[in-house]
Amino acid sequence: MANVKFYCDSERCIECNGCVTACKNENDVPWGVNRRRVVTVKDGEPGERSLSVACMHCSDAPCAAVCPVDCFYTTDNGIVLHDKETCIGCGYCSYACPFGAPQFPESGAFSSKGKMDKCTFCAGGPEETGSAEEYQKYGANRIAEGKLPLCAEMCATKALLAGDANVVSDIYRQRVINRSMSTLASNVGIQKNFLGSSPDLTGKATK
């Protein structure tokens, strides 16, 4: 089976928050929870970059390691999921996660933590696949339908990549090579030698 991953290309992300909206809409995410978010650095300054952050579906997931009731499990695809029936809302996973993926609806009596909610890689949960119950608790199960997470599918600039880790890294590797080659061409003049003209690099993020 494939081992799935997300990867966000900082050279392509334009902080449109389309992924955030797509995720919320597709999964009917509980109020106050954002399974995915876009973080921007140097907002409005030269060198501004954005990245879309969500659960990274770690191979050695800290959330699963610290969970006192052991409600996490990893699917054959390497997707880290959890069982809301067993979850007690202690919040330990949110302390341990480096990406801030596990979040809690503030629905308790003291607006304390309810059942944890996190990105499922659009793979639903432990309930019967495609059932109303699964959708109500975890959102869509697009993986079972042979589709990829909607956030990545919706991404206008294809900055957010999702899928088999090997394919994702192949795509990204190709992008890096292309960008490097463009730069290389302008510096060393290969393109000029081969094509007889300098490439126009105006507006490129790389320089």
Partner: protein, 522 residues
């Protein structure tokens, strides 16, 4: 020409291969751009410095990820990050503290807490097996001394029950995964821990309130002193020998302060975790959990010792918190200084008219409150006229007794003063002269007076009931104050009144009066 062309081609292809190599390296560290990124750059920088410079294709993504990895967005580099999503830590890419917290909880807290708590239980079990139950050496005397008032016991047991519930639910979260899930399964344990977590969340703040009440209820007598130091050096008398102790021994005082101080730390950190909507960051919560966990384990370990000593380890200890009364011999053996104090006050010992029903003690708040109620059968021994003559100004001895019996609390001492000043001055002179000839009474019959105070009073010339009955409580107070600071606490307010009854030989009335007094006080 061909050769030249060939060689130039070769050079270009060489360059091309080199650039491909560089690209590959860059790609690699763009993808795995965490710690290896720095190493890869070093390698490039050292061996292929010129190539890197020449190509200048360092991917900006690499810089970004390196900065993310090194958390340059907080502070040092002055880089700021923002997000349209507004929630806890939403502007953070990576929180490295999460990993530290994970290591603490899984690698340190769970195993070390298990070793510590298990070790304490083991030591206590061994102590019990080797040393056996600590018996009351002299056996039970059958006489009971009031040790804890109902309110004190209410505070103790409320706090104790809350503590046990919080301790069990807390330990469930800590050790359930390794201890219970393999036995009862994840689903069942999840349901159990879910209920436990809610109980823990709700009762935690209540425990905090009880802890505060506990502080004020038991702080008196729990300040350390030199006796406690000696107590600790003697190991509390656990290994033979005798360690003197007052109302509370060194161990009890230590436990009191551990419970209060560590308890306060646990409660405060728990409240930070319990109500996570005051803009606490994840770092705050991680730190709070760390403090909460360490504090809880410490207080639990100490509580094992307290519960052990209070129940299975020592005969006669549990009943004093259960019923409020301890056996006199238990008090003599374990709280000798306290017992001495009670004796000095005449509450216990030879001088006190102790019986199973007439029990008095110090610090008994509720018992004192009970005394304020007029007691109907207390006046049973006085004759019927007592009820009628209670309020009259011309009081004879019968009337005086009655005012003491009835609910008008203010009158007894005043009337005693008045009496000593006016009505029976002749009697006073008579008994005064007789006492100088060496006559003396057993003043210990008066509740509040023990052998030591009796000595002091006799030293001051008050040897008979008659003399005592005609003296002013304030004067007695002066005598006591002169005798030393430890007698300051004694209140002689009722002594002249008691002495008068004794002088008259009205022992039944005196006994009735003393039944209503608390350690010789009203």
């Amino acid at each position: 020409m061909d050769a030249l062309k060939w060689s130039s081609n070769k050079i270009t292809s060489f360059n091309f291969n080199l650039s491909l190599l560089a690209c590959l390296l860059i790609t690699l560290f763009a993808i795995f751009s965490f710690s290896p990124a720095i190493a890869a750059e070093d390698k490039l920088g050292n061996s292929n410095n010129t190539v890197t410079q020449q190509l200048g294709v360092k991917s900006p993504a690499t810089d970004l990820w390196r900065a993310v990895r090194q958390r340059e967005f907080k502070g040092s580099a002055g880089l700021s990050s923002s997000s349209q999503v507004k929630s806890m830590g939403s502007t953070e890419f990576i929180n490295i503290k999460g990993q530290e917290w994970r290591n603490f909880r899984m690698g340190q807290l769970v195993p070390y807490a298990a070793y510590l708590l298990g070790g304490v239980l083991l030591v206590l079990a061994l102590f019990r097996l080797i040393r056996g139950k600590i018996k009351i050496k002299a056996g039970r005397s059958g006489k009971k001394i009031l040790r804890f008032s109902p309110f004190q016991r209410f505070v103790h047991w409320s706090t104790a029950i809350l503590f046990v519930i919080l301790g069990v639910t807390g330990l469930l979260l800590t050790f359930g995964k390794s201890g219970l899930i393999p036995i009862i399964g994840g689903k069942a344990f999840g349901a159990m821990a879910g209920v436990g977590k809610v109980i823990h969340d709700y009762l935690g703040p209540v425990f905090g309130i009880m802890l505060l009440i506990m502080l004020f209820t038991f702080i008196k007598g729990n300040f350390g002193n030199w006796t406690d130091v000696k107590w600790f050096f003697k190991g509390g008398g656990m290994f033979g020998g005798h360690a003197s102790a007052g109302r509370y021994n060194g161990g009890e005082k230590a436990w009191f302060w551990v419970a209060i101080l560590a308890g306060a730390v646990v409660v405060v950190s728990g409240i930070v975790l319990d109500f996570p909507y005051f803009n606490q960051t994840r770092d705050d919560l991680q730190l709070s959990h760390l403090v909460h966990a360490i504090g809880s384990v410490g207080i639990l370990a100490a509580s094992f010792g307290h519960i052990f000593m209070g129940t299975v380890a020592m005969e006669g200890a549990y009943e004093s918190m259960r019923t409020g009364y301890c056996d006199e011999n238990w008090a003599k053996e374990h709280h000798d200084l306290w017992y001495d104090d009670l004796q000095a006050q005449g509450v216990v010992g030879a001088g006190a008219s102790m019986s199973g029903s007439a029990v008095a003690g110090v610090g008994a708040v509720a018992a004192g409150a009970m005394l304020r109620e007029p007691s109907s059968n207390a006046s049973g021994s006085t004759d019927g006229s007592a009820h009628v003559s209670g309020g009259s100004s011309d009081i004879d001895k019968q009337g005086l007794m009655d005012t003491g019996v009835s609910s008008s609390k203010k009158t007894p001492v005043k009337t005693a003063d008045k009496k000593s000043a006016s009505s029976s001055s002749s009697q006073s002179k008579k008994t005064g002269s007789s006492s100088t000839s060496g006559e003396s009474d057993n003043l210990k019959k008066i509740e509040g007076i023990g052998p030591k105070i009796e000595e002091i009073l006799k030293g001051a010339g008050l040897s008979t009931f008659s003399q005592l009955s005609h003296s002013n409580p304030d004067d007695i107070k002066v005598i006591l104050n002169d005798a030393g600071p430890r007698y300051k606490m004694h209140n002689p307010k009722t002594w002249p009144q008691q002495a008068e009854l004794a002088d008259k030989g009205a022992w039944d009335e005196l006994s009735d009066l003393q039944d209503r007094l608390l350690g010789g006080r009203e």
